[in-house]
């Protein structure tokens, strides 16, 4: 499944400056693993050692916070858009 991922400024060093990258996966976890393969080092920036999302990292699927869906297990469909956003920048409703 092809997914679009928006990258926040502090992580763009890892994505060679890109603010949007393409990734593959059927749920958020798979997308993160796929990003890690293509951009090594990205996963540890957004996840704890046990794989859980860091507290001050928000991931939005099409503008909805995944914590209020199925979190990392949230399923994805073709052409979904994911945004990774530092919590401190403010969230959405």
């Amino acid at each position: 499944m092809a997914i679009k991922v928006r990258i926040p400024t502090p992580l763009r060093k890892i994505t060679n400056g890109s603010d949007e990258v393409a990734a593959e996966g059927c749920n958020i976890s798979e997308v993160i693993e796929n990003l890690e393969t293509n951009y090594p080092g990205l996963k540890e920036r957004i996840c704890e050692a046990d794989g859980k999302l860091r507290r001050f990292v928000n991931i939005y699927l099409n503008d909805e916070d995944i914590r209020f869906k199925k979190n990392l297990e949230t399923e994805l469909k073709e052409n979904d858009e994911i945004s990774i956003i530092p919590a401190i920048a403010g969230g959405k409703f």
């Binding site: 920036r45 860091r54 001050f56 916070d65 401190i88 920048a89 403010g90 969230g91």
Partner: protein, 417 residues
């Protein structure tokens, strides 16, 4: 002499130099100022503090500046009022109001954080200060920037109380009203801060700014005779004040200035915007953002930056949180005014309303000391009372008309022959 050591990530512990940073680049956690407490303990005593001028800088060793403050020399040391009348009305033995409605210069506790933030911004070489605000911060940034000759930009939700907008523009600030909620204003400001490189007091200067709130707690402890209250009720918007009051008490304990008597910390929000209270009641670590709808506009932050840590402070201290409706807010504002002669803004109504509720629920012990935090002035949010107060009686300037009025009111007074 500065005792500020570094900035440190509250989440992963990574340390950073004392610059204009607020987010950990490693894990995105918020950064906090750390101090050399061992050295502070060698130079600072209660007696030294007591001899200093009555303003918040009497605790300067515990504030994040490298040099002397350059703005707001008179801020703080507001009254801690022993509220006998209100205490009686609520059935409390020992009630105090910490009254920042009379803080200098803009009548809210924000003067504390802003004088620290702007002084620090100047140390870091900034020429322009800015903020995202629900009103009180706007007033304070504009006034304090004017006082030290800096240019200021203030970003607010466009539908704020008129008094708060005028009380910002009058100081010569550039005021931008954003069509959206505070959270949307904040989001835009994060982008502007990144692009323009200005000192946004509550964004890129936030670690320093937030430390100013500690002085609210230090003063309470000192004014209680170097004692901590058993219960304290704090209004919450972004949740920074409640965490810093808690930090101030812990620092005083660490320095040996007060005994650890187990203060229960309670948080107050309006029911129309209570994301932190919801999390406390659900026992959840997650703060679910809400869309605010309340007359307590100064507390209308739907996505509180320090929500997680605020909930933690309440939980760990044995406190709790409650919320009140707009009607309860207004009735509490009137109660405070009628019993103590203190006209607090809507947020004060929230805090007192919640206090009342917590007493009714038995969460606050009526025999213990209680401090209610009033953080802003009622003159700024008068429109909230429209239609809720009686109208003045209009008469002609004739004694007979006045006497008819007295008679109509059914009252009798002793009169001279």
């Amino acid at each position: 002499m500065s005792y500020m050591k570094a900035l440190k990530c509250r989440e992963c512990g990574k340390e950073y130099a004392k610059e204009a940073l607020h987010v950990c680049e490693l894990c995105f956690g918020p950064l906090e100022v750390i101090y050399e407490y061992d050295k502070i303990k060698e130079v600072l005593t209660r007696e030294i503090i007591e001899k200093r001028a009555p303003n918040m800088w009497r605790y300067r060793e515990l504030l994040p500046l490298d040099n002397e403050p350059s703005v707001g020399a008179q801020v703080g040391f507001t009254p801690l009022v022993r509220a006998h009348n209100l205490g009686k009305a609520l059935g409390l033995k020992e009630l105090y109001i910490k009254n920042d409605a009379v803080n200098f210069p803009t009548l809210s506790f924000k003067d504390r954080v802003v004088s620290v933030a702007i002084s620090r911004a100047r140390e870091l070489g900034f020429k322009i200060v800015a903020c995202a605000s629900t009103g009180n911060l706007a007033n304070s940034v504009a006034a304090n920037a004017a006082a030290c000759g800096m240019e200021s930009y203030v970003f607010i939700p466009y539908d704020l109380e008129k008094t708060k907008i005028m009380g910002t523009i009058v100081y010569g600030a550039t005021v931008v009203g954003i069509k959206g909620t505070y959270d949307e204003v904040n989001r835009l400001c994060s982008e502007i801060a990144g692009k323009y490189g200005w000192a946004f007091v509550n964004i890129n200067i936030r670690p320093y700014y937030a430390e100013g709130s500690k002085t609210f707690g230090y003063e309470i402890a000192e004014q209680l005779g170097w004692k901590l209250p058993k219960n304290i009720i704090v209004p919450m918007a972004g949740g920074s004040l409640i965490t810093k009051i808690s930090k101030s008490f812990k620092e005083f304990i660490k320095l040996g200035f007060v005994e650890d008597t187990g203060t229960k910390v309670f948080g107050a929000q309006a029911t129309g915007c209570s994301p932190i209270i919801n999390a406390v009641k659900e026992g959840s670590e997650l703060i679910r953002p809400v869309k605010p709808n309340t007359i307590a506009k100064s507390l209308a932050i739907g996505n509180p930056a320090d929500g997680y840590y605020s909930a933690k402070v309440m939980r760990e201290s044995g406190g709790w949180g409650e919320s009140v409706t707009d009607e309860e807010i207004i009735s509490a504002m009137k109660l405070l005014a009628e019993t103590e002669g203190i006209f607090a803004e809507t947020a004060g109504g929230v805090t007192l309303g919640v206090t009342k509720k917590l007493i009714e629920q038995g969460r606050i012990n009526k025999d213990e000391s209680v401090v209610v935090c009033v953080t802003g002035n009622g003159l700024k949010t008068q429109e909230a009372l429209n239609g809720h107060l009686s109208e003045p009686t209009i008469i002609n300037s004739r004694l007979s008309e006045f006497e008819d009025l007295v008679k109509a009111n059914g009252k009798e007074y002793v009169v001279k022959a």
